[in-house]
Symmetry: C2
Subunit: 286 residues, 2 copies
């Protein structure tokens, strides 16, 4: 099943997150039922990244956003392990440094975009500058309100160079977030990373929803669409994200480049080498 | 089984690669027999990287070197997929650019070393500057001969900051390399990346062995040891590398940091939130 149509934010359309069910899980009822589709998607991703790397005509930028505990880390891990690390990067964008803040908000992001043949995953991104920054008034509205257009222009520049851009908003319910926080509280492996801000931020839930809606409405474009991924079920989140990436890359019709050398010639050289007694000796050892 | 003792290059010791069997495969006879040990190593790596990331007192630098087709890409992929991409990087060092060459040979490497809490894998490294550079006389001996000491000093600096450094030389026989080249020739998926230099470099096999021996003898130190990994069998290569990394990290006795907040307090706040009708409503939806 192709989840793109169902989950895309149509460019220019209005969106109300409250009308979207974060527990939706498509055609499968359980994780076990989805396992085979997921494995197929992962195998496709492996192959498609190899083609992208070999062909060097396209780049892929994947942006992952979502509220705390929405599963950003897990999604990045899931996507990236399908791919050869040679040619892929994951960049996490945390609180900007003083040096970052002395520059325009896209300055710290630009060096990490993928070149042709490469895949880059952003765990958080330049969108933080219209999310947390907006919710907490870290800059005045006269500043953040201009950023939507600047983001679109920036992404257009990347697209024009051959970058396919896919943006995933991982959407969970407030109840699911609470449940995940509680699991962290009871998990000795994760207690160290609990902070007070985790639950203080919950007071801003509706403000965040508004900021997400503005981001989705203003920055879902033909060349860099947003997808809203119902993420209460982790398995469905992984299934949908991997399916959307694979289906999008398949449409690029990428091909392996032809050999750059005369294969018949080289085959002969190998046969000669294989008959060389010095070679046979080392082969016997191996 | 702990392969460290068997495979380490003892600091200060002489080494003759011809005395080492690249087809050695330890206590297991087949890949199937080794599968469970390998899975256990991978699970350990996942957990240990998590500890390293959480504790932020240590860094881990893994250097992978080896002749063409020795399995550098495969090894990097294998190691890194065991770990959360948040906090890990893989850097491949190819031919230096003009800008690289306008600087000292460690300049392009330094920005990619891991910080505390991070893991960095180098697919090729600063050692290329005493390998291919030496074999092909890209700089005079008076230059490359000074680099061994400079490398040791550089690695000492990293170690003093808290970096554990593990260096793996993947060792295959000439016969195994020939066999892998031949497999590439017959694999339509890989024909595009065959180059004439693949087999032209084979003429320098013994020069490379000499350069590898010099590197192993001069740069295996207490704080940054080299391991020679018999790599004719890919499964043994992965088993040995993952075992050595896991065993080394285990000795760091890393611990999760204590919670920074009062968990009892937060637990109460969660209970209150869970009883809030607004929360229950959104929970029901999830």
């Amino acid at each position: 099943m192709d989840y793109r149509k169902k989950l895309i934010v149509k460019p220019g359309a209005k969106i109300r997150l409250k009308d979207i069910d974060p527990a939706w899980h498509g055609k499968h009822e359980t994780e076990a039922e989805a396992a085979q589709d997921l494995a197929e998607n992962v195998a496709k991703l492996t192959h498609l990244q190899y083609l992208l790397y070999a062909e060097k005509k396209h780049a892929l930028l994947i942006v992952v956003q979502g509220i705390d505990a929405a599963g950003k880390d897990g999604t990045c891990w899931h996507v990236i392990t399908a791919m050869n690390p040679q040619g892929t990067t994951v960049t996490g964008f945390k609180q900007p440094t003083e040096e970052d803040l002395a520059h325009d908000f896209l300055w710290r992001v630009h060096p990490h975009v993928p070149g042709l043949g490469q895949v880059a995953v952003f765990n958080r991104s330049h969108y933080e500058d219209v999310l947390v920054v907006r919710v907490h008034n870290l800059v005045p509205e006269s500043e953040w309100s201009k950023r939507y257009k600047e983001i679109n222009q920036f992404e257009k520049l990347l697209a024009r160079k051959g970058t396919t851009i896919l943006k995933f908003f991982l959407y969970i319910s407030a109840g699911e977030q609470l449940e995940r926080f509680r699991q962290r509280l009871d998990d000795p492996n994760r207690q160290w990373k609990i902070s007070e801000s985790d639950y203080k931020e919950r007071a801003y839930w509706n403000d965040y929803l508004k900021a997400y809606e503005a981001m989705l409405e203003q920055c879902s474009t033909e060349y860099a669409p947003w997808y809203v991924i119902p993420s209460n079920h982790k398995w469905f989140r992984n299934l949908a994200v991997s399916q959307i990436i694979a289906a999008t890359l398949e449409e690029l019709k990428m091909k392996l480049p032809p050999p750059t050398v005369d294969l018949a010639q080289i085959r002969k050289a190998y046969h000669a080498a294989a008959k060389d007694p010095a070679e046979s000796k080392s082969k016997a050892r191996g």
